[in-house]
Every structure is written in C-alpha cells, then in structure tokens.
C-alpha cells in the first residue's frame, strides 16, 4: 500500500510527463477502484446509487493528499481513473460473457432485462476493440472517448486533462463518436 503522499507525488510526476510514474500509478488506482466498487455493491445493493463519478471521487479523496495538489490536477487523476474504469468494465463484461458460455449457452433462459445486459456486455466488448483501432489511427480521439465515456468527465475537465482546448475536445468527441458509430452500428 502506497501512502497518500507517494500517490500524490506520482500524480504530479505524471503531470510533468513521466511515463514511469504512470505505469506505477495505474495498477494501484485500478485495484483501489475495483475494491471500492465491489464493497460498495455489497453494502448498497438495494438502492443503486452507485455512479462512476461518485466512485472515482471517493477513491480520489482516499488516495490523494488534498493539500498538496491544485484543483486542475484532479483532472489528471480522473483521466487515469477513466482508463482504469474502462479496464474494469470491459473485464467484467468479458467475465459475464464467459460465465454464460460456461454453461450450455443455448440452454439458459433469459428474461428480457438480462438479455439487454448481455447485449450491452457484447457491445461494450465491441466498443473496446474498436477503441483500440481508433487509437491506432488517432490516439487523441480515442483518449477523448475514454475520458468522456468511461470517466464520464465533462468537456472542460477533459480539455484540462489532455491539455487541449475545449473546442478541440468537442470536435474530437464528435468525430470519434461518428467513427465508432459507423464501425459498430453502420
């Protein structure tokens, strides 16, 4: 377990462009998010108030020393969390899919809502793959999608984290979304 100050230091280094710091921090945030998510689920399963932003915020408060950091640095943390979230959700979708396959897949009775969730798990896995393809063509477009979609970050937070203008975020978001739509639904 890293201490709050260590994590905070890593975050600041990432902001300065350190690749190494990113490699160190990522798995750490990933584990923490996952742990909090699952423990949350067990406690709050009756009312599903759990949202990603809430989750990320909770982890942020827990991991980062607020006194050492400026408001806009928070967005860099959020960006990392968004990438972690992508990983967590896609893993979960894959696991779900595998579970269903594990039994006699043709022989499981679904109610509509489960079917819907299956659809979405499938679509999420598709989306993940297509995002990788998009990144090959244009990394920044893919980044915008990860932050906006998986991190549910606002336009201005995304602009902050990626250090580009809000106008560019908006345009990239439109293009990336169009491209993904074309690939997935077209």
């Amino acid at each position: 377990m890293k201490t709050k100050s260590e994590v905070t230091r890593l975050l600041l280094e990432i902001k300065e462009g350190s690749k190494e710091a990113y490699e160190q921090l990522f798995p750490f945030v990933y584990d923490e998010l996952k742990r909090v998510a699952y423990s949350k689920l067990q406690k709050e399963r009756d009312d599903i108030t759990l949202t990603e932003t809430g989750l990320v915020h909770e982890v942020y408060l827990k991991m980062i020393d607020q006194t050492k950091i400026k408001a806009e640095d928070k967005n860099h943390f959020m960006a990392i969390s968004a990438r972690c979230m992508r990983q967590i959700l896609v893993d979960h979708a894959r696991k779900k899919k595998a579970e269903k396959r594990g039994g006699d897949q043709q022989d499981v009775t679904y109610v509509d809502e489960l079917l819907k969730a299956r659809h979405e798990a499938d679509e999420l896995i598709d989306l993940d793959a297509k995002l990788d393809e998009l990144a090959e063509l244009d990394q920044r477009l893919a980044d915008v999608v990860v932050l906006r979609f998986f991190g549910q970050m606002t336009v201005s937070a995304t602009a902050d984290a990626l250090e580009i203008s809000e106008r560019t975020v908006k345009r990239d978001w439109a293009k990336a979304r169009g491209w993904l739509y074309k690939e997935i639904k077209g």
Binding site: L41, L89, Q106, D122, L137, A174, R177, Y181, K182
Partner: protein, 901 residues
C-alpha cells in the same frame, strides 16, 4: 486504413464540420475530385457523426457503464436470496437445498414440513415480484389452469403462492432424471428408439395444447428421463406466468414486454417479440429432434453474440440434418454414430428423405408453414415408419420430381416433366377445404408456388425454353401459355395424360379468373374423356368437377349443378363408389351450391348430411374434413334461421378444429361465422368476444390486408351496430369497405353485404336520405348476385321497408315489407328470428295503416316465437312487446295494452 489516409479524411472532415450544408457539399466535391473512394468515406463519416449525435450514442443516462454497474448488483442479489431460503419454510414445505438457478428464478428441493406424508417437491421461487393486483390475479388464474394439466409425461404443478417477501413461487412434482439428449447418447439409443421417446414428448405437448397450454420454453434441460425410463417434461406453461398482462381490447397493437426465451430453442416469432402460439412449441420440438438425430444444433451458435444469434434464428434456413451430419469432421461423425449405435454412412442414409423433410417442416421460419399441430407431426412420424407419403411432402415432391427427371432425363420431354410436376403439385392440395374464400386464397398461393416450381425446373433443365430464350423471369402466364400450346402435339397418343394436363391448366386459369381460356381447355378435356368411354373414370370425374367449379365461379349455377351431379354419378361407377374424399367434397359442393346460389335448403340439407356421413365413414373419429362438413351444415342451418341446430354444428366444428390444429385460418372463419350466429341470437357480448378472437387469429395467419381481416372487421362492425355502439361500428364498417374495395374493386357480394349493414347503421342514426341511397345501391347489388327469390334478397328489402316506415312513406313501406315477408315465408321456418324480424316490422306497418286485426295476428305470432327463441328479456322480444302495447293503445283497448307494458 492507413494513418496517412486517415489524416486526409480527418482534415477534410474538420473543415467540413465548420461549413453550412451547401458550402459543405461544394467543399467536399472540390477536395475529393477524382477520388470517389475518399469522397464516400468522408461522406459516411459525416453522416455517422450526425446520426450518432441524433441518437446520443455513448451519451445519456443509460450508458453501458451505468447499466453494467447496476446489473452487477443484481447478480449479487440473486445468490443472496437463494441461499438465505435454505432451512426456511414456504407454506407447508421445508426448503432443503438449492437445486439450481435459472433466468427466471431459483429452484429448491423441499419436503413437507409437517411430515404429514413423505413427499419431496421442487419449489421454484420466481425472481420477479408481481407488481400489480391484476398481475397477481392473472398469476393465480394461470396457475389454476396449469394445475389441471395432468399427463403421465408432464411434471405436475402442485401448488403455488406468494412468499412473505412477495415473490411468487410454484410447487412442482420433483423429477430426478437425466436430460433427454444426454440419456439417449449415454445409452447409445438408435434412431428408432430416439424417435419413440420423441413421440412421447410430442404426445404430452399435444395434450397440453388441447388444454390450451403452450410450453413456450421447450429444451433438453426441461425434458428429463427418470431412472425407470419415464419421460417427463418440466415447467409447462411457466413462462407465461411471468408475462405482463396483455393490453386488452387493443387488437391492432403488437405485444411487447418481458419475454422468456432460450436462445438455442427460441422460434423466430419469439425473437421478434410476436405472439406465441402452439407452432412455437412445434419449432422447439423441431430443434430438439434435430439434436436427437444429428447430435448437433442446427445453427452454429458458438462464439456468437446475441445480435448474430437472433439474425440466424430469423433468417438462416438450417442445413438439412443429413447434410449437416456429413459436413462434420470425420471423428465427430464417428462419435455421433457410435452414440446412435450406428455408423456414419448408415446414420446419414437413415436421415435422408423423410426425416430431413419432417425436421425441416417443423423448423420453418413462418409459423403457418410449420406443422399445424403436434398431432400432424406425430402423424408424419407414423407415416414415415409405415413408408406412407408424409405431410411434409411439399418439400419431398420437389425432391421426388427432380429425382424422377434426373433418372429419366433422356427419355422425358420437357413438357411431360412439366405435366408430371404440375399434377403432383396439385395432388398435394386435394385435401383442401371447400370454403369459397379459402379457395381464392389458395389459388393465389398455388399460382405463386406453381410459378416458382416451374421457373426453377424450366430454367434448370428445359432445352425447349432455352432455345426460345425464355429467361429466369418466366411468369406463370407464359408457362401456362407454353403448356397450353404444346399439349396437343406432346401428348398426341396419350389422351388421358392430355386430358389431365388440360384439366390442370384449365383449373389454374379458372382460379386466376380467366374463365374464357379455362372453359375452352376444360371443355376439351371433358370431351376427350367422353370420347374415351369409361376408361379413366376417376380422371373423368375430376375433369367434370373442375369444369363444374369453373361454372359456379363464373355464376352459371345450372350448368354447375348438372356437372356436379354428373361427377357424382361418374364416381359412383368406380370401384370405391362414393366412399371417397373426392365424392364427399363434390357432394358437399353441390349441397353448398343448392342453398347458397339457388336457395334450395332441403336438397342442400340432405346432400351436406350425406357428405358428412361419407367423411365420418372414411375417417373414424376426428378429422379436419369432418370439421369442414360440420361448418357447411352449420352455415346452411344458420342461413335458414335454424339457430340451435347451427349452434351445435358450429360448436362441433370449432371443437374439432381446436383439437386437431389449434389456431388456424379455417378455425378463425368458423369462429367468425359463429359470432354472427351469437349476434343473431342476441348474445352480443359473446359475439363480440368470438369475433375479436377470430380477428386476432386471422391477423396472425393471413396478415393485415387479407380478405379475412376485411370481412372480420365488417362483421365486428355489424355486431356493434346491434349493440348500439354506432361510432365504433361506423369506423369498422368503413375500414372494412375500404379493404374490400382494394381487394375486389367496385362490386362484390361481400361489398354489397357490408353496404347493407352500413345502410342500416345510417338509418338507425336517422340520416334517412343517405340511408336510402346506400340501401338502394345495396339492393341493386344483391339483385345482381342472387336469384330473384333468394332469401338474402329479403335483407335489403326489409331495411328499405323499415326506412320508409320511419319516414311515413307508408305505401312504399308496405310494398317492400310484403315482398320481404313473401320471400322469407317461403325460405324460413315460421319459428325463426328472420320471421320474427319481418313480422315485427310488418306488424308495425299494419298498426300505422290502422289494420289492427291483422297487425294483432302478426305481432302475437312473432312475440310467441321470440319468447321461445330468445326469452322474454331479449331486446327484440321487448321491442315487439312495446309494438303490441302501442297497437292496443291505438286500437283503443287499454286493458290489453296494459298487459304488454
């Protein structure tokens, strides 16, 4: 796509996004000049950007991350509830252990808590709560239906209720066993042994269908074989318990909502969210049979996502079982063959032919094309075993014919092949029912089918046509014409075949409404037979009958009658005499013609009864033909006003149909006729209900624009007229007329009948001028269609009489009502509602004309028979009662008037 290429696109799109529509177009054209590929990619991306924005793709509250997170918690919830119930009591049962979880809930093993007797049961606790009182009520109702389902091969539903948490649960007979397919494979059962078990499953399913229960979720894990070798089907009808209540009354709305389905066994209609019928179970049985026979599923579902699987189910025609087996890797084939106690080649040969055809028929995408009932499927399995032709032979005919042609390719001229094909094709349809409308519909289907069969055949193997350069788009017309022209030379020395082909082509022409060509061909065939002098009596009878049908359709009833009588005489000279389906159908046709077209009810009655007796003699017990004959008799008695006799025939016909084929277009027609009977008897509520049921069935079987829907809609309107629901009646009648005009053009008996009802409605709404116009028009149409004193002519006459009476045009009223009375007196028994109806009207007229004595006689007569028929509280009876009261008042006999008040 390379990165460089992407950058090019990206740059153009960036700029384009900033531009207005027209400017954007110009800009793209300029940038992508000489590079159509680039242009199309740019345009596609721009379109996708717009679409994704409109759809809020990856946005909005319900994005996947949110859903996945919430779904995670549900998975958790499920296992929580399940384990917590172990050790607890539900009702009188103690939960012992968890048996399994399914999509709809968890299953537990339980025993009687009070140990009153030794009984282990399975308790299914459903996941979903029943949210509304009406849903709970429905749950109970369904449960009661299921509890009555008793069959040795169906696991029984013992009890059910709500847990303390409000979750519905079901207590069921606990079955310990092995899934059917596993059982067959581990015991190396042969094809025949497997089929024997499969037949047991079918019989159980048919039993449930007879009790109006559809399984909806048949699959191997729901079909177990117990240790002592008994087959048990689990979860019968359970899936329906979970469906939300259907929105009532709204006929034309598609049902949505939760649906239970198992992807591997779901029928196309289930995937599409359409109504589930007995045919849905047939489909699942088809998949099961496929797996039992081949060891594999018809579709390759491995590694496919839901969308892909749904597409396969909806669109892909499965590979024939025998072919599928041959396509498997050799080692897999060997393994499957061993499980069948056989070898790959023997197994494959056993599947070829009948079994292939049977499985494929059960798996048809369109419900209508599958087996009508599980009984039919069983029947085919039985026939296969006895080497009799099977019902699924629509496919096999093609197979046989093409095989025949392949064998005799050298010696067989194209036209002979064509004749053979067309004849065998029609043989398939000889079981057809004698309902007029059905024939019209079948004619269309036949025409279509004949065209495709022939096109297929001719384009493949007909040197004749290739020479003449007839392409693939050969139409039925050109095929017929070709056949028509070549018959004489092709069959110069084979008069019987020549007559046969001429008959077949003539029949097709007649069904297409081309009576001129039909008449000349059929007459030629008829003459050939006459010249042969009793060489091919059955063929001769068939030709004569076809000619008769043609004249009937054309409206030449006398000629039709003579020819039908001749047909029957000819058949009588054959070996089997009149005890054949052919004879029965000819006699029935003559019977229908007698009353429908000529108004001779007595003759009709004896003919139709005779036809029924013949069918009963041929088919002991239930058969669709018998149901059809019941319907003939019902319709005739109905038209004659003998309501209680008609009632009993209708009920027999309906019961027969329900038992034999479940929902069916013919059943819908009978239900619809029956609804009109109920209306005539004054049971409006039930009439409405039956008519709606019929409409639903029609909608499912024939589609929105069929004749049946048009007529059914009109009949429902007619019922609403009687119920006084004028607004509804008005819109339905107009809808019906609109549809009928689309089908028949300007005039047709059905249109005339609808106009009559519409005229009545307008009269009741007191728009007399309009009513007179519509009714006079209807009267003219009726006169064109029916002979002079046909009972139906009296219907528009009566309406016109009533109209004039209400308008105080007494003289006209008198002449129309008297004419009506004349016709009805000679057509209907005195104690019929038709007589009561006209007597009521005529009595009213007499009162107005101050002929009190005469009026009294007529009205009292009418009153007495109505009391007998409909009881004292019937609206029509009450109406006459009021008429009598006002008669006595006018007549100045107040003490008598009081009696009828």
């Amino acid at each position: 796509m390379g990165q460089q290429h992407w950058e090019k696109i990206n740059n153009i799109v960036d700029t384009a996004l900033e531009l207005e529509k027209e400017e954007r177009k110009r800009y793209i054209n300029k940038e992508c000049k000489d590079d159509p590929e680039l242009k199309s990619e740019v345009t596609r991306l721009l379109e996708s950007i717009q679409e994704s924005e409109a759809e809020e793709f990856l946005e909005g509250k319900e994005s996947y991350p949110q859903n996945l997170v919430s779904e995670l918690s549900k998975t958790f919830e499920k296992s929580e509830t399940s384990s917590s119930l172990v050790g607890q009591n539900i009702d009188n049962f103690k939960i012992l252990e968890v048996v399994g979880h399914g999509g709809m809930g968890s299953v537990f093993l339980a025993e009687r808590a009070d140990k009153a007797y030794d009984q282990t049961v399975a308790i299914k606790v459903l996941r979903r709560g029943m949210d509304t009182p009406s849903n709970i009520l429905r749950f109970k109702r369904e449960r009661n239906i299921l509890a009555k389902l008793e069959h040795p091969n169906i696991s029984r539903l013992l009890d059910g209720g709500m847990t303390n948490e409000g979750l519905p649960y079901l207590v069921m007979e606990y079955v310990k066993g092995t899934p059917l397919i596993t059982y067959c494979d581990t015991n190396n059962l042969t094809i025949e042994q497997r089929l024997d078990l499969f037949k047991l499953v079918c019989q159980a399913v048919q039993h449930a269908h007879n009790n109006a229960v559809i399984h909806r979720d048949l699959k191997p894990s729901n079909i177990l074989v117990t240790e002592d070798g008994k087959v048990k089907i689990l979860d019968f009808g359970i899936a329906k318990l979970l469906e939300p209540e259907e929105v009532s009354e709204n006929l034309f709305q598609t049902r949505t909502g939760a649906r239970m389905l198992t992807m591997g066994y779901a029928a196309p209609e289930q995937v599409e969210g359409e109504a589930v019928t007995t045919a849905t179970d047939t489909y699942a049985l088809g998949i099961l049979l496929y797996k039992l026979l081949t060891g594999v599923h018809p579709f390759d579902l491995e590694k496919k996502n839901v969308t892909e699987i749904e597409r396969l189910i909806r669109k892909k025609t499965p590979t024939k079982p025998s072919t599928k087996l041959g396509e498997l890797p050799k080692s897999k084939q060997q393994q499957i063959a061993e499980q069948h106690n056989s070898t790959p080649s023997v197994l494959q040969n056993a599947l070829k032919g009948d079994l292939d055809a049977i499985v494929m028929k059960a798996l048809r995408k369109e419900r209508k094309k599958r087996y009508n009932s599980t009984d039919q499927l069983l029947e085919d399995l039985r026939r296969r075993k006895q080497n009799l032709p099977i019902i699924a032979r629509e496919d096999t005919i093609r197979y046989k014919t093409s095989k025949f042609i392949r064998r005799h390719k050298a010696g067989l001229s194209a036209a002979a092949g064509f004749a053979l094909l067309i004849i065998s094709f029609f043989a398939f349809y000889t079981w057809q029912i004698t309902d007029e409308r059905n024939q019209a519909r079948r004619a269309a289907q036949k025409a279509e089918a004949v065209t495709s069969y022939l096109t297929d055949l001719l384009s493949r193997s007909n040197p004749y046509l290739e020479e003449k350069n007839v392409g693939l788009d050969v139409t039925l017309g050109s095929v017929l014409q070709y056949g028509h022209k070549t018959i004489d030379q092709e069959f110069e020395n084979q008069p019987v075949v020549k007559a046969k082909v001429k008959t077949v082509i003539g029949q097709v022409y007649s069904q297409l409404g081309e009576f001129g060509k039909a008449e000349s061909l059929l007459t030629e065939a008829y003459q050939i037979h006459k010249g042969l002098k009793s060489k091919a009596m059955i063929d001769q009878a068939n030709t004569t009958k076809t000619l008769a049908f043609m004249y009937q359709d054309k409206g030449n009833y006398d000629r039709a009658e003579t020819l039908l009588q001749e047909t029957i005489q000819t058949l009588q000279t054959t070996k089997k005499g009149l005890i054949t389906e052919e004879a029965a159908s000819s006699i029935a046709r003559l019977g229908n013609l007698s009353w429908f077209n000529k108004g001779q009810f007595k003759t009709a009655d004896s003919l139709l009864t005779k036809a029924l007796e013949i069918e009963q003699q041929i088919h002991s017990g239930n058969h669709l033909h018998i149901a059809t004959r019941y319907n003939d008799l019902a319709t005739m008695n109905h038209a004659q006003g003998k309501l209680s006799i008609a009632d009993s025939y209708y009920r027999k016909a309906i019961a027969n149909y329900r038992r034999l084929s479940g929902e069916h277009a013919n059943l819908a027609i009978i239900l619809s006729n029956f609804a009109i009977l109920l209306k005539d008897r004054g049971d409006y509520k039930e009439a409405e209900q039956k008519q709606i049921e019929a409409l639903k069935m029609h909608k499912e079987h024939s589609g929105e624009n069929s004749i049946d829907i048009a007529l059914g809609t009109g009949k429902l309107g007619q019922i609403y007229v009687e119920m006084g629901k004028y607004e509804r009646a008005d819109s339905l009648l107009h809808l019906s007329l609109e549809k009928l005009h689309k089908i028949y053009g300007e005039s047709h008996p059905y249109i005339a009948r609808n106009n009559l009802i519409l005229g009545k409605l307008v009269r009741l709404k007191k728009n007399y001028q309009e009513a007179e116009e519509i009714l006079s028009n209807a009267h003219a149409q009726f006169s064109k269609v029916y002979p002079e004193n046909h009972p139906r002519i009296s219907d528009p006459l009566l309406e016109l009489g009533l109209l004039y009476l209400e308008n105080d045009r007494l003289q006209q009223a008198g002449s129309y009502l008297e004419k009506t009375l004349d016709i009805r007196t000679s057509s209907y028994p005195n104690e019929s509602w038709q007589m009561a109806e006209i007597q009521a009207a005529y009595g009213k007229y007499l009162v107005r004309s101050e002929e009190y004595k005469k009026a009294e006689k007529v009205l009292l007569n009418s009153y007495d028979s109505l009391v007998k028929f409909r009881g004292e509280q019937d609206p029509l009876t009450l109406k006459i009662q009021r008429n009598i009261a006002s008669l006595y008042k006018e007549w100045n006999k107040p003490e008598l008037a009081e009696k009828y008040r």
